[in-house]
Symmetry: C2
């Protein structure tokens, strides 16, 4: 049998299988959806004890009412930013993004020994360059790409790479409050002698070197950010996890010394643990790679291959939108979902009369070529009720788990709420919030 006819046959057979797999999955889901839902409900309760770092240190969060998993008593956990909303897009795409890995693949530690980042899959690197070109959110020319086990590992790698090694004092690491709640915990995790958390960038006034983490749009509040320390000469790390069209207008391609991205928040694939850094200085890139060598000896090749495939389909969907394969781009889809979710949230907040939300001015988005609003991955909710000092506790009393402002370096009148959970969970949250009256 010749190679050509073999291939034709293989493609036919694969197409057949994919449709069979999808049908089997759908049937299975229908059969088990009842059981799954019960598990999920129980699960939601347990989650809070784990991932959400602040909750680990606040056992009170595990209040008795969270032990009731069923029906309308279910606790809505929006403490962490688990991006399960995106399953809604990827399930119907299953055939396009399925990958098949034979058992003998990726045995070696090495992916591409001709690349500085020897553990990075070439196909992944290729799709990173492509997606940034398609979306227009970052300059990749003259940058070294470094792949990481999520952008968390890359942030730690960046701190390692940028901290002076020979200084007698650790360098100060700052970020403007409200800042991502994990920054202080990550920076000081093993009490490093090369870097230390120094709090809010807005009030940092020490006359010494510093690293400023600039998260834009910001987690938790969604605002576009610039460096805040009132001084030049700071070392900057730009965390651009949320600089994607579904969340914020893409005004210009990011052109920083060091930018971090992740598939968790761009395509919604948090379970892959894949992030990437765009790094201008080759010596900084080398030191980041060295950190990842010492930390985990590279990054899962399987997940890199999956990330490459998913990013490829996102780029394809943008370039072919309107055709028969992709009626709309991934970002059109997710932008529409976020728009609707924010509409529902603002309506509920208005109805309750107890809370307020940030307001964003519309701006031109180059990707959509339109003037658009901002619809962050988190809602930064303020409780305006006079007799409520702790908004996190107040909402917990209404079976809504959120992350309180103190974890982000501000007051407890604020909470952060994930906007990326599954539709059912999100709708229940809106229902609960709407029912809270003063």
């Amino acid at each position: 049998m010749g190679l050509v006819s073999l291939r034709n046959f293989f493609v036919l057979s694969l197409a057949l299988n994919v449709s069979l797999i999808l049908r089997a999955i759908n049937q299975n889901e229908k059969l088990h959806s009842g059981a799954l839902m019960a598990v999920e409900k129980g699960a939601k309760v347990a989650q809070m004890t784990f991932l959400s770092f602040p909750s680990l240190s606040s056992p009170s969060a595990a209040a008795p009412e969270t032990q009731t998993p069923l029906g309308r008593e279910r606790v809505v956990n929006l403490d962490h930013g688990d991006p399960t909303m995106y399953e809604q897009y990827w399930k119907p795409m299953g055939d396009k993004t399925t990958i098949v890995i034979p058992g003998w693949q990726s045995m070696s530690y090495f992916s591409d020994v001709t690349n500085l980042c020897w553990f990075m899959e070439p196909e992944f690197a290729k799709q990173i360059v492509r997606i940034h070109k398609v979306v227009g959110n970052a300059v990749t020319e003259g940058r070294h790409i470094v792949v990481g086990t999520g952008s968390s590992q890359l942030l730690l790698a960046a701190l390692y790479a940028l901290s002076p090694q020979d200084s007698s004092n650790p360098i100060s690491v700052v970020s403007a409050a409200p800042y991502y709640s994990s920054y202080p915990l990550m920076t000081d995790c093993v009490k490093s002698g090369i870097h230390k958390w120094a709090g809010d960038a807005k009030i940092f006034d020490k006359d010494e070197p510093y690293i400023e983490l600039v998260t834009s749009p910001n987690n938790p509040d969604g605002f576009v950010r610039h460096p805040m320390v009132n001084r030049t000469g700071g070392i900057l790390v730009h965390d651009l996890a949320y600089y994607w069209p579904q969340y914020t207008p893409i005004s210009t391609p990011a052109d920083n010394d060091l930018s971090l991205f992740t598939v968790s928040k761009s395509t919604g694939h948090a379970g892959l643990r894949i992030g990437w850094a765009l790094v201008k200085d080759v010596e900084v890139a080398k030191r980041m790679i060295k950190f990842i060598e010492l930390n985990t000896i590279g990054v899962s090749k399987d997940s890199q291959l999956r990330a490459a495939k998913v990013l490829e389909v996102v780029s394809d969907s943008c370039e072919q939108a309107g055709g028969s394969e992709y009626t709309e781009s991934f970002f059109h889809f997710s932008h529409t979902v976020m728009t609707e979710r924010w509409r529902l949230l603002r309506e509920a907040v208005k109805r309750s009369g107890l809370f307020s939300l940030p307001n964003f001015s519309p701006a031109h988005c180059n990707f959509f070529d339109n003037n658009l609003g901002t619809q962050p991955a988190f809602a930064w909710l303020k409780c305006d009720k006079d007799n409520v000092e702790d908004c996190e506790s107040f909402l917990r009393g209404h079976k809504i788990l959120t992350r309180g402002g103190k974890h982000f370096g501000v007051g407890s009148k604020y909470v952060r709420i994930s906007m990326l959970d599954r539709e059912q969970t999100y709708n229940l949250f809106i229902e609960r919030l709407s029912q809270i009256r003063s």
Copy 2:
């Protein structure tokens, strides 16, 4: 179409595809093998600049002769323990270990919220318990399993979990020389204030708490190890990466407070970056999990699923060896390869008259139920030639890259040589070594 007949059809079609995929791969390999080999040869040269941590700090290793990628001029790089030898087992098994992952799978950060280790796939945990039972190399009862991005991350997690947080001084971390060359670099990577590298366990005599890393069988020298600090009360971490039947007789199931394992050296899947810890104390397990949260927010789910599949096939091959599906177990196969490689090595060393190797007493292996020798994953070679002080440089002059003794805390008369590379590379190494005469 009913679910049963649908399933039957799907299984048939899948079996067909797998054979087609395998045939296509084989054909492809034949077509491109020439080109691939050239790339691999060039690649081998570049590798030394990267993974092998010690080489990074010794640019002299990149000697001019390493730039010649072709023919007999090719540099044999056995500096790192890249386990590509195992492709030889897994390629013919391709159909049994292939996994298919649809694009919408593992979107969430969470794998199993009912487990302490919430980012661990249940199927992976199940296969860990099973493989240890089948092999008899570790007790899993009364243990918490923690999955990590390779055992490197788990070692760092263990150091974090076991170091006192409130002490004014960092706790000493020791290991008997020769010790794994990465231990000092990992322990002191960010100059932690909670732990610091304190060198050779055999000469550690400070009257203060300490953590001892016990690697058994040992990397680099292959000997079975016990704690070496001449004192009770030390905190022990057992690195059992090589405690598998192909390398050493399995004398008893490990029953430690904290043991580390990895698929990199057990099944040869280094590119997955998957390791696991068996932890007795629940508080230690919790702190390790916390570290992995802060370090990488969990571990790639794709790679966990692949590891589960590979471990399942290894266990199957042990339980069904001699049948039609598995003529021999994975460990029979790999034990045979290692036996032959050590035979060739000892022959070559004898022929040259310049080197010596460790000698191991035979011991009873419960897995094979036989008295067997030891055949480590690394050869710990000593240069006995009087006028050669630096064995690493000497061998580099003969186009063999190894890792010198000083990286392992001992003299430069010693080198560590990987025994796990592909056959072609290994044979070239033996050929080169045999030709060295005094």
